[in-house]
Symmetry: C2
Subunit: 336 residues, 2 copies
């Protein structure tokens, strides 16, 4: 091996950042890129020499990254350029290799969640197009038109009170919302919350929430945690917001609850199916959520901003510098 | 006069609240209603006996309320059921009569302003309809689609730092925005603000703002304060949000600035023309703002919610009770 270590960027996602990371790094690295249109042999050869790899989502989705990672003998850092790692297993990595992820999306996702809560109450998407036709149907006191709703005083319930939950709570508090949450472990209730419980308080959380926000990781215990029973115990006026992972909610149960008015609505950013590498599109679910008016639907973009990307690549470069200098790495993933 | 005083509610706006105010009042009042479809003679007769009048906006707009008010000899309380009172002049009222208004809309309008700032950055109104066609154009990291923007770190500039401004600042702070403002008088900068200036700092406010929010009253000094010159010194990426009064912005100058890209956009809730009593609709401006894509347009409804209405009528009933009991009135308007 040469004295300058090799960094393998993988996936089209990493391609535009090749120059940027070179600029951000303060230690020496040879930076090479593999994209899913190239051969697996090439990937094997690259990873067999690499000391660090950045695992772009499209490279992972291609299904060809895991094998070569498992066999990458010199790998010291597996750097995930996002936060989710439900695909990562302990046995994939040698004892020399540390896996790290990045966050920097929590404030961005909190903005998305608050935008949707506000939109749900105010409905700019209905008022603006209506007013453009010179209709004053939604006019205020001078016209006495249809009124909209308020966020103030409503209860927001957060499932999975971690980094994203904290940022949502901080913002919701400024709107004088009541905030309740359920996390993995029992902790004293932190400042902005009315109460913080564990999964034992899940029934109270779903009963009391006007907006139920899912921000938990997808694990064996959260898969399908929102099922038909859960939906039935929610307020009929309540709205579910999923920025976690699609399968945290049972798809058929959610579709039926929305269709029949068991709950008032859903804001869905995460899905049951995604376009595979090379595919431009795919249907995000088996059920036609896009036909339902009581939904706001977005393609897993809640955290997808340039500013988030910039913060993430700054963190990634910092971790590579830390590895080179022998300093402690940031955001180490603990695998069981 | 009978020992039970007369309360005159005026305008269709007050009609649905006739029963409610009777329920809310803890002191005795005879409550009568006049609506603009009734005669002016009837209004004159009612107001000549009334001790208090609630001035509904449609009654005011009908132009027939001012005369009878001026001649109402027993009037002790002129209660405006909203906040604006640019139409009210000192010489209209006898020395026995106090004018009061109500607020309770400041948190509601702050929600509207934040909803629009978030919508401007995230653009749910574009992402949701696009995704409903199974397009992943705006998809996140797995798809590497178009990115949206963030509120975090942006500068919000508030013209007219009063009740509404304070509530906007409180919320904007939770989003880690930079907040600057200009008010009527020189004061120490309060906590959430980066700086608070007077009209002398107006140039700095407009130059630094990513979102310029107008919350000032319409006065001789604010009419047309945003003119072609102002718009030229704003950032090309900036957005103006008007929840004050339409004529605070020069209409032609704003239309041209939006049309030619001098500024990036506008959120307009207040207008240059309103439907007159009996009219269902009217064009809100001389210029076709509704043809511009870089606008969000709403019919003066930023504060128009049931919860705001409930808070306002509770305050109005409280003021009537205070008048009866001889306690100090709330929200007294100081007229020059």
């Amino acid at each position: 091996m040469s004295s300058i270590p090799l960094l393998a960027l993988t996936g089209h996602y990493c391609a535009p950042h090749r120059t940027r990371i070179r600029d951000l790094l303060t230690t020496d690295w040879t930076v090479k890129l593999w994209t899913p249109d190239q051969s697996v042999d090439h990937l094997h050869s690259l990873l067999s020499k690499a000391e660090a790899v950045v695992t772009g989502a499209d490279a992972l989705l291609s299904g060809r990254l895991i094998g070569p990672i498992t066999q990458a003998k010199h790998l010291k850092l597996l750097q995930i350029p996002f936060s989710g790692h439900d695909w990562l297993k302990f046995e994939m990595l040698s004892s020399e290799c540390t896996a790290c992820n990045v966050y920097e999306h929590h404030t961005t996702i909190a903005e998305y969640v608050m935008a949707n809560i506000l939109e749900w109450q105010i409905e700019l998407r209905k008022i603006d197009p209506n007013f453009r036709t010179d209709s004053w149907d939604y006019g205020g006191s001078a016209v006495s038109g249809k009124k909209h709703g308020e966020v103030r005083g409503k209860t927001i319930g957060i499932l999975g009170y971690g980094r994203i939950g904290e940022q949502i709570a901080k913002r919701a508090k400024a709107f004088d919302m009541r905030i309740i949450a359920v996390g993995r472990s029992s902790k004293p209730t932190p400042k902005p919350l009315d109460w913080l419980g564990t999964h034992a308080q899940w029934p109270q959380l779903i009963e009391q929430s006007d907006f139920l926000v899912l921000t938990c990781p997808l694990t064996d215990s959260t898969r399908g945690i929102v099922d038909a029973e859960t939906l039935k115990t929610m307020k009929p006026s309540s709205v579910i917001i999923n920025v976690a992972r699609g399968p945290v909610i049972d798809e058929a149960a959610l579709y039926n609850a929305l269709k029949t008015g068991t709950i008032a609505g859903a804001v869905l950013d995460v899905w049951y199916a995604y376009p595979q590498p090379g595919e431009a599109t795919c249907s995000p679910a088996n059920h036609p959520f896009h036909e339902l008016e009581n939904t706001i639907l977005t393609p897993h973009c809640a955290g997808w901003t340039d500013a988030q990307d910039e913060r993430r690549w700054t963190t990634i470069a910092d971790n590579l510098d830390r590895l080179r200098r022998g300093d402690p790495l940031r955001n180490i993933i603990t695998l069981n």
